[in-house]
Structures are given as C-alpha cells and as structure tokens.
Symmetry: C2
Subunit: 182 residues, 2 copies
DNA sequence: GGCTCCATGTAAGGAGTTACATGATTCA
DNA sequence: TGAATCATGTAACTCCTTACATGGAGCC
C-alpha cells in the first residue's frame, strides 16, 4: 500500500507535474536532456519506477490520442500530495555536503610525489573548469530560448558548486605549495 | 586477477596508506569519525572490501603484537601503485557537479503554493546552515589540536560547497520572490 | 559476573545502471 | 526497404547499507 518512494520516484512525479502530461518515453528524455538531474535516463530505472507509481495510483494514464502507442501520464491528486510531501519533509541529512569524488581524492594526495601532486591538482582543476564551461553554455542557451526558469536555477546551483570547488582547489594548491605538504 | 576497484576500495587503500598500519576496525573508525568521507562505517562494506584487497595483494597484514586479536594492515607495493593510479587517472566525469538532493527539489518548487514555497526555501537554507555550523566547529577543533592537514582541507572543501549552496538558495529566493515564479 | 568496548563477520535488501531484447512508426 | 527514431521492457549486476550474529578483553 504505502510503499516508500525513492528520490527517483519522487523526481519522476515532479517531471510529470511539470509537463502536465507526458509519456514514459518523454520522462526518459527529460533525464537525458537535463544538465542538473544526475540520474541516467536508463530504461531499467525509469520504466519500473513508473510502473510502481501507477500501481500506487500516484500516476495515471490516458490512452494515446495520436497513432503512437504511448500513453500520456499525469499526476493524480495523491500523486501531487506525495510530491508536495517530498518537497516539504526534507530531512536535515540532505543539508549536508554531497559526496564528491574529487574531495575524497584530495584526502590522499600526500601519497604522490611533489611533482605528481602539483600535476594532478591541475588536472582536477581542469576537469572542473570543463564542467563549468559546459554548464555556462547551457545557461547561455537558456537566456536566448524558452528554457524554463527552474532548469535555469538548477544550472546556476550546479555552477555555484563547481566554482566553489575550483576556488577551493586553487586554495589547496597554495596551501600545499607553500607548506611542506602532507 | 585484475579486479576493478571501487571508490570505497581505493579510499580504504588511502586510509591504510595514511595510517601506515591500521586494523580493519581502525579503518571503520576512520570512516565513522571523518566529516568529509561520506561512506558509512558499516561492517557490511568495510570488511568485505578489505578481504578483496588482501586477496588481490594490495593490502597485507602482520600478526598482532599485543593481546588483541586484530591484525595490522599495511599497503603492499602494488597497493601503493593502485592508490597512485586512482589519484592520477581520474576521469573527466568526476569533474561534473555532484548529485544534490536539495538542487533536485528546487526543480519542482513550483508545485507548492507561494506560501509553502517561501517557507520551504527557508528550511533548505536552515539545514544547509546547520551543516555549515557543524563543519565550522570541526575546523575550529582542527586548528587547536593535532588533526592533520588533509582532513582540514577536506572540511574546507565541504564548507566551500555548502556556502555556495546557501548563497545560491538566497539567490533562488530573490528570483522567485520578485518574479511570478514557476 | 555483568557491562562495555573491541573486533569480525554474514545475509538480505535497496537503489539504481548496463546490457540485452523487441517491436512499431516514420522518412528518405 | 532500410535506417533512424519512437517506445517499452527484463535480467543481471554493482555497490553499498541495514540488520543480525558472535565472541573475546578489560574493568568494576
């Protein structure tokens, strides 16, 4: 009955809410195109999730209008309630810093020689900059075309994180470059 | 033979490197005490990982010196090589923004009434501030006591991320507060 | 002699991802 | 008619977490 929704389940509710009505395939494309939602658009997660949401009567479907066989999904009243609950009842744990593989690695940089360490710090900065450039291009597109506000805000949030990481990496470089490192 | 190490496996190599020699139990405590490594200290991940690393000869153990039964783990030469490889061969994907549940939710804030939306934005800011406070206290401790540089750098990185998120959330509030929101 | 750490493990489950498989529709 | 896209699914696997189980060591 009251099965516990995963983050992905709830996120799909959100996508359906945003679209008004959308096919399962459309949900998949939404994930594929979004620069900020980190789930893969894999069929192995999206279709089973939608099936569960329909079984739980949080999503419902209307038969297709056109020649295509796909059904149009929409939120039920309980679906909207579940979405609102997810947004509102956000545990304090979610406020904590995320899991960042680069931050993890910085922990153990001391295992490298001084030369490699400097070199690899530059690499971490480079791949962060690449990611920043990618998002900035998205944002530029969002300015000109009719991309919605929420996606724009999401991209801005991701950019904020990446710029903060880049500045921190530069700080790390300076600390390790002058101190004797460890 | 050449089994592929997970992030956790590599991180454990890093912890053992840092300690010089350490028991499996010590590795677990390391995770439990770290404010920056996001893995749980669960026995169900740590012990099996260490077993795999020993089988692969990346970790080796010396019999206990004291009365306690626990063995002291240390890195082998190949273990150190694996650790270095992990630090150096960091895929560009890891440069991207991390998966942030709060950023995900911002995507769908439009599903709430104006009142709830403002309220919940404050909540997201609050739990972020709480996390910031927690880390700042850690950092203060790190200044006085002999906590090592790497842990301090890690905490600084996590703080940078959280402060960036907080500023972004304030920006989101301003954007949604003036525009008609959506 | 019981309580608390120290210490190590297994079993089951959760939340996805990757890879595979299938068919229908549109367009050149 | 063949390629691309639309469309939906399952099976196996990954990587980790939770919960359970067990026993020794020190201590009061």
């Amino acid at each position: 009955m009251t099965y516990v929704l995963t983050e992905l389940d709830n996120c799909i509710l959100g996508i359906v809410w945003r679209a008004g009505s959308i096919t399962a395939y459309g949900v998949r494309n939404y994930f594929a195109q979004s620069a900020t939602l980190t789930w893969s658009a894999s069929t192995g997660s999206v279709y089973p999730s939608i099936r569960r949401l329909r079984t739980a009567r949080l999503l419902a479907a209307k038969p297709p209008s056109g020649p295509r066989k796909s059904e149009l999904l929409h939120l039920t009243a309980s679906g909207l309630a579940a979405l609102e609950l997810w947004l509102v009842q956000t545990d304090a744990d979610f406020g904590r810093a995320t899991s960042d593989p680069i931050r993890t690695r910085i922990h153990f940089l001391g295992a490298l020689s001084n030369g490699s360490r400097r070199h690899i710090l530059k690499h971490y900065q480079d791949i962060t900059r690449t990611a920043i450039d990618e998002l900035e291009q998205r944002l530029a597109l969002a300015m000109t075309s009719e991309i919605d506000l929420s996606e724009k805000l999401g991209v801005m949030g991701a950019l904020a994180e990446l710029r903060a990481r880049l500045n921190w990496l530069i700080e790390v470089e300076q600390v390790l470059g002058f101190g004797s490192a460890g």
